[in-house]
C-alpha cells in the first residue's frame, strides 16, 4: 500500500505516523515544499517574545528530539521529501506531479491513498507597499526568526499589526511585553477579536491592551505602507499615519484548496476542501484535513472553517486510522478557542450574540461577573462570562469569557463546549451543569450555573439588562434622557460617585431601598441600576417591580464590568 501525504506541518505527519503504527508495512511518503516540517506554528508568538529560546524547540518532541526528516525516517519509518512542491494530482493515473523547488526537477509519485494537508496561507491585503522589507506574516519559522532578530538588535521601536485576531494580538503582546516595542493594532472590524467576542468582551480585551500601551485602532483600514530604501517606515490608514519599522499582517487565513480544485475535487466556495465524516474528499482514495478543509459547525449545522493546530492533530489521527482500514470519524466542531493577552485571558465556544443574530437566531446574551472560586477562599479571580441563548427555544448557542485566571476560564468554557458537542443544551441544562466543586476551585453555585440562572431571569422578564457600555451611554446622556441612576452598593461603595455627581448619581443601597427609601425614586422616570457585580441591583430591581416601577434597567456585571471595559462614570 503506497500512501502519499502532501504537507508536513501538523496534520500530515500525524496522519502518516498514526497509519504507520497501525500498518507497519505501509509505504508512506510525505512531501513538503518548505525546509522545516512538523513544527508548532502556534508557538511562533512565544518564540518572537523570547519565552521560547530556540526555534528548534518548536520542532522537538516533549523530550527534545528534533522532528526533522531524519527523525521521521529512522524513528517512524516514513520517506520524507522536503523542498518538494506538489504541482498536480492525476486522479486517473493515481499520481502526483512534484517539483524539487531547488533544482526544478519534476517527478510523478504514485499513490494508492493520498492525503492533502496543504494548510492555509495568510491573507495579505493588496495594499501598496506590502512587499517592503520589514513586512511579515507569522506562519513560517523563518519569518519569526527575522522578527525576533530585528527586536534583539534594537531595530524595532514601533510596530503595526494589521488584524486584531488571535495571532495579531498574541504577536502584539509578545512585542510589547518582552521587547518594549510600541505596538499599534489596526483592525477593519469595530472591535478586538471580531467574530469570536461580543462587543462587551471586546472592550475588555481592548482595555487590557490599552493599559499595557498597545493601541487598538478599530474600524480602521490600512491604505498603504510607505518606506525608505526598500524598508517600511510608516503605515497609512484611512484615519492616521503610524510610524513603524515592523509591520505584521495577521488578517486571517485562506485555505489552500487550489490543488484539490484543479484535480476536480469538491471545494467549498470559500476555498476549503469538502470532506465527509471520515475526512475523505469527493474521491474516496483521497483524504484531506487541517487548515485546508471545510468541516461542519455543530452549532449552526452549516459548513464552516476552524484552522487550529488542535483540530489538525485530531483530524490527523482520524485520517491515519482510516488509511489503515479503520472507520474513525470527525463529526465537526463547536468552535472553541483561547487566547492569553497581558493580564487577561479570553476563551469561547460557539456563537457570539452578534454572530448568532447574523445566522438568523433570535438571540440574546447575558453577562455576569462572579469569582471563579468560593468568595471566602483567599485566592480568587473575578470572571466575566457571557452566555448566548436563543429566546424561544432557550437553546444555548455559545459562551465567551474573560478572566485573569486562564485555566479557570477554560474550565467553564470547555464544559459548555462538551455539552454543545453532545447535545443541544438549553439554559436549564447549563443551570444544572455539574462541575467539580470545592472552595479552592469553584463557588457552590458556580459562575457557569449563575450565568444560565441570570439568563433565565432575563428571558422570564424578571430582569431587564443593559450592558455596561449601554449603561454608561445612558449616563453620558443623562441630561437628555432623564434617567434616574441608582447605585445599589453599600453606602461606602457609592459615596465617592454620589459626592462627585450630586443629584445625579444616587447611592441607594439595596438595604436602604428595602428599608424605606422607595419614595426617593421617581415613579415617572426610567431607572438605571448598578452595583458591584449585579446581584444587589437584581434584588433592587425586584423590589422596584413589586412597587410598580416598570421602566427599570440593570447594568449587567455592575461596576466590575464597567471598569474592565475601561469606562467610568
Amino acid at each position: 500500500m503506497k500512501i502519499l501525504v502532501i504537507g508536513g506541518v501538523a496534520l500530515g505527519p500525524k496522519a502518516a505516523c498514526r497509519c504507520k503504527r497501525l500498518m507497519p508495512d505501509a509505504d508512506i511518503t510525505l512531501v513538503d515544499e518548505n525546509v522545516f516540517i512538523s513544527y508548532g506554528g502556534c508557538g511562533l508568538p512565544y518564540y518572537i517574545s523570547g519565552e521560547i529560546q530556540n526555534l528548534d524547540d518548536l520542532r522537538s518532541t516533549p523530550y527534545h528530539t528534533l522532528r526533522d526528516p531524519r527523525f521521521f525516517a529512522e524513528m517512524k519509518g516514513l520517506k520524507v521529501r522536503t523542498q518538494t512542491r506538489a504541482m498536480k494530482i492525476d486522479r486517473a493515473a493515481k499520481t502526483v506531479l512534484v517539483r524539487d523547488v531547488v533544482t526544478g526537477a519534476e517527478e510523478h509519485l504514485p499513490y494508492d491513498k493520498l492525503v492533502i494537508a496543504t494548510g492555509a496561507t495568510p491573507r495579505m491585503p493588496p495594499v501598496p507597499g506590502n512587499d517592503l522589507q520589514g513586512v511579515h506574516s507569522v506562519t513560517r519559522l523563518e519569518a519569526a526568526g527575522v522578527i525576533r532578530k530585528a527586536c534583539q538588535e534594537g531595530k524595532v521601536e514601533k510596530a503595526v499589526i494589521v488584524g486584531a485576531g488571535f495571532i495579531g494580538l498574541e504577536v502584539a503582546v509578545a512585542l510589547a511585553d518582552m521587547w518594549g516595542v510600541e505596538c499599534s493594532v489596526v483592525e477593519m472590524m469595530d472591535q478586538a477579536l471580531p467574530g469570536v467576542l461580543s462587543g462587551t468582551l471586546g472592550l475588555m480585551a481592548a482595555q487590557d491592551l490599552d493599559s499595557h500601551d498597545v493601541h487598538l485602532y478599530a474600524s480602521e483600514k490600512v491604505l498603504r505602507l510607505e518606506g525608505e530604501d526598500g524598508r517600511v517606515t510608516r503605515v497609512v490608514t484611512d484615519k492616521r499615519e503610524l510610524d513603524a519599522q515592523l509591520v505584521i499582517f495577521a488578517a486571517g487565513f485562506l485555505p489552500n484548496g487550489q490543488l484539490a480544485r484543479d484535480a476536480g475535487l469538491d471545494v467549498a466556495p470559500f476555498g476549503a476542501i469538502v470532506v465527509d465524516e471520515e475526512m475523505r474528499t469527493s474521491d474516496p482514495d483521497i483524504y484531506a484535513g487541517g487548515d485546508c478543509v471545510a468541516i461542519p459547525n455543530l452549532v449552526t449545522g452549516k459548513t464552516g472553517y476552524l484552522p487550529l493546530g488542535s483540530m489538525a492533530n485530531r483530524q490527523g489521527r482520524v485520517i491515519g486510522t482510516n488509511l489503515a482500514g479503520g472507520h474513525a470519524t470527525f463529526p465537526g466542531y463547536v468552535g472553541t478557542w483561547a487566547v492569553k493577552l497581558f493580564d487577561m485571558s479570553f476563551c469561547g465556544v460557539g456563537l457570539t450574540v452578534e454572530r448568532a443574530r447574523r445566522e438568523g437566531y433570535d438571540a440574546v446574551s447575558v453577562c455576569v461577573e462572579q469569582l471563579d472560586r468560593a468568595h471566602f477562599y483567599p485566592e480568587k479571580n473575578m470572571m466575566s462570562l457571557e452566555l448566548v441563548v436563543e429566546k424561544g427555544t432557550r437553546r444555548v448557542l455559545g459562551m465567551q469569557g474573560a478572566c485573569t485566571a486562564g485555566d479557570a476560564l477554560k474550565a467553564r468554557v470547555d464544559a459548555v463546549a462538551a455539552a454543545l458537542q453532545y447535545a443541544k443544551p438549553t439554559l436549564d441544562d447549563i443551570s444544572n451543569l455539574e462541575v467539580c466543586y470545592a472552595p479552592p476551585f469553584a463557588s457552590a453555585m458556580d459562575v457557569v450555573n449563575a450565568v444560565a440562572n441570570v439568563a433565565d431571569n432575563v428571558l422570564a422578564g424578571r430582569m431587564h439588562p443593559v450592558t455596561g457600555a449601554e449603561f454608561m451611554e445612558l449616563w453620558q446622556n443623562r441630561r437628555e434622557n432623564r434617567v434616574f441612576f441608582i447605585d445599589a452598593r453599600p453606602t461606602a461603595g457609592s459615596r465617592t460617585l454620589e459626592e462627585r455627581f450630586p443629584g445625579e448619581w444616587h447611592g441607594i443601597s439595596l438595604e436602604d431601598l428595602a428599608a424605606g427609601r422607595l419614595p426617593d425614586v421617581p415613579k415617572d422616570a426610567p431607572v438605571a441600576l448598578i452595583c458591584n457585580t449585579g446581584l444587589r441591583a437584581y434584588d433592587s430591581e425586584l423590589i422596584l417591580h413589586r412597587h410598580g416601577f416598570t421602566n427599570v434597567r440593570n447594568s449587567m456585571g455592575g461596576m466590575q464590568a464597567v471598569m474592565k471595559m475601561g469606562l467610568k462614570p
Copy 2:
C-alpha cells in the same frame, strides 16, 4: 400559599429565596435547630487553617453582608426561626410539630408546601472514647471555632484524623500546613480518597501528604480513644498507638432521613429521602433536597448519593422554581469532585476502575502523564489523567486526575463530566473532544484526547500496560520473574540507574532500539518497558511487537508516574 422549610444551611435558604423572588406573596417560614444558618460548611477547613479570618466570612455574601436571620427577614422577606427543631410531620393535617430547643416549647406550624432540607450527620464510629474532649467532627461552625482556638493557643502538637476522604484530608492539610501540627490520618480502606480515586492516583495523594509529613495509615482501624482528665491523649488502632491532643472524625455522612421516614415518605435503604426529577418526595406537597436525598447516578443508572454544597445549591433553585408553580428538573449526578492537598490537586468524575468493576462493568483504566500546556510553552505542569472505559462498548465510565495546577485539571474533568451528563460518550468521543486550544492553555493534542488515544491503543492490543506500582513490583521481584527491564529514555536519562543496577536495568533508548540494539533483548524473557512518560516506551513496544516479541509490558506514565507515587527503582 404557606411554605415551610426545614433546614437552613444550603438548600433551604436557596429554595426559599428563589421561591420568594418568583412569588413575592408567598408566606415562607424557615426553621433550623442551630443558631447559625446559611453558612459555607465547605469552607470550614480554610477557617481552621486561618486562610479565612473570621467565621462570619462563611456566613456572608460576596460583598460582606451577614446572612443572619435578620438579613433573610429584611432583605428576602422570609420568616426565620433558629434553634427550632422539627419533630414530626403530620401529612394529613399538613402541619409540622416544632420545638424551641432553648425553652422546650412546642408548636404546630401549618404548611401548604413543605421542604425537607435536613442535611446529613457525620458518621461517628462507635469506638470507646469518642466522647472525650478534643474529639470533633467538622460540620458545624462551632466545632471549627474550637479547633482553631486550640491550635492558636498552641495546645495541639499532634492530631489524628479518622478518614482519608475529602474533609479528612482538607483538615489534615489545614492543620499541618498552617499550624505545623503533626498529623496522622487513619483510614479503614486501603488508600487515600477511597472510592473516588484509583489505587494509582491514591498513591500519588498519599505521596503528596507524606512529603509534607502527614502520615496516612491505610487499611487500619481505630479501636479506641484514650484520655486523661476527660481530654483525648491517644488513638489506639489495630496496628499502632498514636498520641493526639486533637482527634477529628471525618468518616463520611449519614443522610438525615428519619423525619421523612417517620412521616411515611419513601426513604432509600441507606437512609436518604427518595425524590423525583422535580425534587418531590412521595408526597406531592413535600419537596426534599441536598445532603438528605437520594438522586440518580447518571453513569450507573442506579440511585446514589452525593452530599456536596454545589448539588444542594442547584437543587435548591429547582425546588424554589417548583414551589412557585414551575416545572424545573434535576436529572441526577455524574459525581464530580475536587480537592486540593499540598502541592497537588485531585479531581474526578464518574467511576474509578475499581468501582466500575464492583458495579459489574468489564472495565479497564489507562493512565497518562502529559503536560497541561504546549510542551514548548515556558510555564507548564505535568498532569496525570486516568480514564476508565468499558471494554466491549468502549464506553467512558469516568476520569480522575492529579496535577499541581488545579484549574487546569478541573478543565479536563469538567469537559468529560459534561459529556457524561449529556451522552454516553465512547473513547472515540473523548479522542475527538474539542477543548479550548492555544499554547498557554493546552497541547495541540490535549492530554484529555491523549488519554483516550492511549486507551484506544490498549483496547486494540497495541499496548500492554502495567501501572507504575505493578512495574515496580516486577522490578522488586526481578530475581524470580526473570523480566528483562528496558529504560527507553535517551541514554542520559537511563545512565544513573543502569550504573546502579548493572545487568538488570537496561538503558536501551528508543533510538538505539530502532537503530539495531534489538539483538540485546532476549526473545524468551518477558520484557518490561519504561521511559519518561510513556511515549517512547510505546514506540519501543511497537518495534518489539514487529519483531515477534509477544510478552511486553509498558509502564503507564513512565518514571513521572512512578516518582509521583513515591516509588523508586
